[in-house]
Symmetry: C2
Subunit: 583 residues, 2 copies
């Protein structure tokens, strides 16, 4: 049982049958064809040799198929993680150097180890620390960065940089060196791919193709672009005229590689690896959950961490780099009818065959085409509307998302995502530091109490009923103290203060001490401090405290009881005993 929990394959494996097999095989073929150019392209984006992209898609897929819980998730290199990889190892090694490739392996090793550890410690919930707006903003900004960084391949020029400004100025500087032939190929491929996305699908549907097939053909657009431009370059010998091509890609299965474990390197890569792990996990889990929901399947986040961790460890030892569950590839896998992770395994076989036999075919593949596929893919992720949507709904979310976008574009991916997380946490604390406290009164003819400034309600002199709309904890402990003492100074007739705790979900030790201080201060002046509608879990804690014992007042089940006991009359529906009469 325990074993089956950690090896989901034992679950679906036993019920595996011929129907599933054929569906999985079909899906595998389609995904394989799509993955070959995509893998090469993302390796290019990560600044690694093209084969690294292929290698990163073979063993990792198999390992995820064994440990992962999603039936349709396709694991491998993805755009954002490739960009983050380039940013991370760009700081510790020179692109193209051996150290660079080794650093990529170490990054995968670290990230894999972290993911497995988080999975075993059941820390799946850490993904929640990335708020939706922060993720949306980060993906959008990364998309812009990636597209900009690929322009150099479209123009056939040199250009570098990790921030938008660096990249654009570098592009501008080298613009005169633009290679027209490359530009024609790159622009042509880009235009074609955009048309495929927007125009081809409707066309195919009009031609009466089944929806699924149309989807798949549309997704296969990049393959066509790759084939056509490769043939062009080969036939017209454009490489000789300066069109940058992929060139030699070593033939054969992924090599066994050993990541460096030098303490300095690991220390330098620790934070980037952590960010890559969390970002990768968040991207992967959301894709997995979306697809699972469509088939009423469930995803186990903690087991997902283990599956992705295993995949990254696999990448580290087979010449790959950090991987995660990709959106595009998973959707294709799903649409193509993949039923089980076996589809992934078959895809791995297909890619292995490609690595062994087909690499010569991509010799003449122009880098401009790969850049085109990346640009078209990532621009579909770019969506700045999150800015306007958060602006309309909640300024705090807007601040977090705009900071994420600006810092990602202006400083780098790591600064962007970490500031987004830290800022959302601080803004949340800031909001809870000044909680909303409403003075309430009785809604006539009911037992309900509402804000005196928003509703027509009854109040009574001498009785102050405050509804605290926040948990009481250290960040806002002193706030309530000041607030009540100010109200005290303002209203000398005050006899009783009732704190309505319906919205108080926690009272931590700091807040407890503040309440004791308030109680003491009110007692000095002969004013009663009462609590009402205290929640079960909170009450359990309070019972044992000296506050409960020395409270200069009572604790009421409901605010209505408090209202009656503290002087409410029959007109309010209170009986003589001072309790609310049954309806």
């Amino acid at each position: 049982m325990q074993l089956r929990h950690y090896l989901p394959i034992l679950d679906w494996g036993r019920s595996y049958n011929r129907a599933a097999l054929s569906n999985d095989l079909v899906a595998a073929v389609i995904v394989t064809i799509m993955l070959i150019p995509q893998s090469l392209a993302y390796a290019l984006l990560a600044g690694l040799p093209p084969e690294a992209g292929i290698y990163a898609s073979i063993l990792p897929i198999v390992l995820y198929a064994i440990f992962g819980t999603s039936r349709a998730l396709a694991v491998g290199p993805v755009a954002v993680v490739s960009l983050m990889t380039a940013a991370a190892i760009g700081q510790v090694a020179e692109q193209g150097s051996v150290g660079y490739a080794v650093a990529a392996l170490s990054l995968a090793l670290l990230s894999g180890a972290m993911l497995v550890a988080m999975g075993l410690l059941r820390l799946g919930f850490v993904a929640n620390f990335l708020s939706h707006p922060v993720i949306a903003g980060f993906i959008t900004a990364s998309g812009v960065l990636i597209a900009a960084s690929q322009l150099r391949h479209i123009l056939g020029i040199e250009a570098h940089g990790h921030t938008l400004v660096e990249i654009l100025s570098s592009l501008a500087a080298h613009l005169p060196e633009t290679d027209i032939t490359t530009l024609i190929i790159g622009a042509g491929a880009t235009g074609f791919l955009f048309w495929v996305r927007k125009g081809l699908r409707p066309l195919l549907l009009r031609l009466g193709l089944p929806k699924g097939l149309a989807e798949v053909l549309t997704k296969a657009g990049p393959v066509a672009a790759v084939a056509v431009t490769t043939l062009l370059v080969w036939q017209l010998d454009l490489a000789a005229q300066g069109v940058a091509i992929v060139g030699d890609v070593p033939k054969g299965l992924p090599p066994l590689t050993l990541p460096s474990v030098s303490p300095d390197l690991l220390r330098a890569l620790f934070v980037p690896a952590l960010l890559i792990s969390v970002i990768g996990f968040v991207e992967s889990i959301s894709v997995a959950q979306t697809l699972a929901a469509k088939r009423r399947q469930r995803i186990d986040p903690d087991q997902e961490l283990i599956g992705l961790g295993a995949a990254n460890l696999g990448a580290a030892f087979t010449g790959g780099y950090p991987v995660t569950g990709g959106f595009a590839r998973s959707v294709v896998n799903f649409d193509a009818g993949a039923e089980t992770p076996a589809a992934g395994a078959f895809t791995a076989v297909g890619l292995a065959l490609a690595a062994v036999a087909l690499t010569p075919l991509v010799y003449f593949l122009p880098k401009a085409t790969l850049a085109a596929t990346i640009i078209v893919a990532v621009l579909s992720l770019v969506d700045f509307s999150i800015l306007s949507r958060t602006w309309r709904y909640a300024k705090a979310d807007f601040i977090a998302v705009s900071a994420t976008i600006l810092l990602t574009l202006g400083v780098g991916v790591e600064a962007g995502v970490s500031s987004g997380v830290i800022l959302s946490v601080l803004l949340h604390l800031y909001k809870t530091a000044r909680p909303h406290v409403a003075e309430v009164g009785l809604v006539p003819g009911t037992q309900h109490f509402r804000n005196i400034h928003r509703h027509k309600v009854e109040t009574r002199p001498g009785l102050l009923s405050l509804r605290v709309d926040e948990s009481l904890y250290f960040v806002n402990a002193r706030f309530l103290e000041d607030l009540i003492l100010d109200r005290l100074a303002a209203d000398p007739r005050l006899r009783d203060v009732v704190l309505i705790c319906a919205a108080v979900n926690e009272i931590d030790y700091s807040a407890l001490e503040s309440l004791e201080a308030i109680n003491a201060r009110l007692a000095e002046q002969g004013i009663g401090l009462h609590l009402s509608e205290v929640k079960g879990p909170v009450m359990d804690r309070l019972q044992a405290t000296s506050l409960a014992q020395h409270l200069n007042g009572q604790i009421f089940l409901s605010q209505y009881d408090a209202w009656c006991r503290l002087g409410g009359d029959v007109s309010d529906g209170c009986d003589g005993a001072g309790v609310g009469t049954p309806l």
Copy 2:
């Protein structure tokens, strides 16, 4: 008006009269006498020349008197901040070197600038990020560290280290070199001072002295110890026998000093300065508020930041080091009858005179006596009961406080306090990440709904009423989604889900998207999603959203209305129209 806000002196200055003057003068004399040995002692603790302690008590007091809002607070060197200063500048300069003293000035400059900035930005609330248990634990651990670090002066040996282990092992190593004469003086002084604390006051009261005077005499104990031991050393020429003495203290007013502003130094001191500022502010504000409360005066935290900042800037330019409002000295000042900050100004004059005329008197003052005064002072701050109190009340607070104590003792003051803060924030987020959600039912004969597991309540098949006891925000957004989908799978009869939002104080953008997802999923299955008891501020935000527009259900003012509208009958006190009948 605005000016008077930033210059409280204009407030109390105009009403200053002869009575206040004489009271302030008396207090000043007493505090001055007490401060001379204390200042020397804390300078010793900070690893600075003795005069630094005196200098740090002159201009800073005056500046606080002008900008501060507390009537009785006495500003100057304090134990914990002195320890933190030693820890901070010990990392950037060799003790005794010129660089060391300069670093102390730069630390005061940085901390002063930060405090003023925080004050102008009205960031007084950041003090709340230090939870009560974390402060208590930090003060206790610091007290232990300080006492241990002073033992070397009692024993007359060399010993160093910033952690308890370092200090104790270093002491053990040098133990054989113990100087008996020094030990006798140190142990005697320590014993005497403990007796003064515990035994003298009751004795004096029994002798019929007025309470206030007894207090003051008790506080003056250190002065007696200083006088006696100094005379001993002088008469018996014990210095020649190896008793370490204060020695030459330059005569004269505080010098004008310029702190170094070298970027490297400032960068190295930035975090320590921030921690010192916050810790110092928290210690100071709590003393100020305690004393103000006794006389029904109010403290303005933001203006306090400016006052303390000014004091530290003053220290930076007059040969001092970071200062803050001290507990002991402020209490003495208060008990001695200080009425206005003018008392502080007079104290400054007294100390200036001492610096000019009296420094020769402390030539023979044994360091052991100063160490004794420190040890007795700080041990009164040590109180480990916070561990048991938090353990009983809230495990999260216990974890935070024990981590603070362990890391302060085992790693250092900075690690201790920062981990305490970070841990309390993370623990709070962790708690809110898995909020308490109660399924509720109607309490018969009332309009109240309570947890079905805690109370005898009515429920109805097909209707699921969930009370979410937490704000909905990014950290727990996904939680609710999973919870409801699980309940859905568990109960196929489900027709309506009502979320009671009485405890939901915020719904941020991430949570909004989760609710939209839940709504969509429930709608697919023809199940209604309803909200009840939504708070005003939350409702205002929801109104405009697509959730409110596409909600597959209704939003009810009260859960009781929801209960009636969704099928409640007359037996529940609902009328035909499906609303709760008036009482």
